[in-house]
């Protein structure tokens, strides 16, 4: 099974990358664009497991490493 994990900062947590992107765009006259939030995409393969077990593993990996629950939330998508 192949999965895609989307990790994003929780609402309200300062996103300095998003702010930097926003101010760069503003300099290029994209003044209509605001509230930019930058996240992270991680794709991974889980081999030889039942679907439910595989997803549980991805969930565990998200909590252990891919996302920090203090500031981030994550979403798991099945790709195949």
């Amino acid at each position: 099974m192949r999965y895609r994990v989307l990790v994003r900062l929780k609402p309200g947590v300062l996103d300095v990358q998003g702010k930097a992107v926003e101010s760069g765009l503003r300099d290029k006259k994209f003044s209509a664009i605001s509230d930019v939030r930058v996240g992270r995409v991680v794709e991974l393969e889980v081999q030889g497991s039942e679907k439910e077990e595989a997803r549980a593993q991805v969930d565990e990996v998200c909590r252990l490493l891919l996302a920090n629950p203090v500031i981030e939330q994550y979403e798991i998508q099945e790709l195949s």
Partner: protein, 231 residues
Amino acid sequence: MKVAVVTFPGTNCDQDVEHTYRGLLRREVVRVWHRDTDLQGADLVVLPGGFSYGDYLRTGALAKLSPVMDAVRSHAEGGGKVLGICNGFQILCEAGLLPGVLLENVGRRFLSRFVHIRVESTGSFFTREMTAGDIVTCPIAHFQGNYFAEPEVLDDLERRGQVVFRYCNSGGEVKPEDPSSNVNGSCRAIAGISNRAGNIVGLMPHPERAVEALTGGPGGSSGLQPFRGAA
């Protein structure tokens, strides 16, 4: 008193810490590689600053999975002393040994400069020989030093005396909204915290870079004092 200094791939302040303890305070120091699982009977374990694993994913996130961290966790749970400086503080937060997390600096810049920090609590092993209100002047060198935790966690830290250091101005005043003293925008100007028992301490500034007048800048060797207490 035996000190274990841990080196992860990308750690770069391990020799400064070793120099402080061995060279200046004459303590026994052992160097521990991140793949080691034996802390060699150390009383104090130091996770020094640097850029472990190139700061990939999040600062400190990959280092918390290193084999040595199981030993560090057991050591801490048994009441052993643990000190995390800069990246070491980030690792302790990621590992859940200290609450909160270090976000990118509010000003979106890597900060390399001297700061003043004020001792807030003397309940930790690192400040037990100091007096509340004492000021240490030492460098910071970080991009992710903006301490963040939920308000209820911050309240709890304050109530239990777990805020060890706060950023302040040269006169010792703490002004969380003032970017000239709270340079990275940390919640409530927090520069360092401890766990409830006071045996685990993490801080962003580098007192080990201000232990001698030659490199200590405006505060001379003011950074040496907490290490004395911890030894």
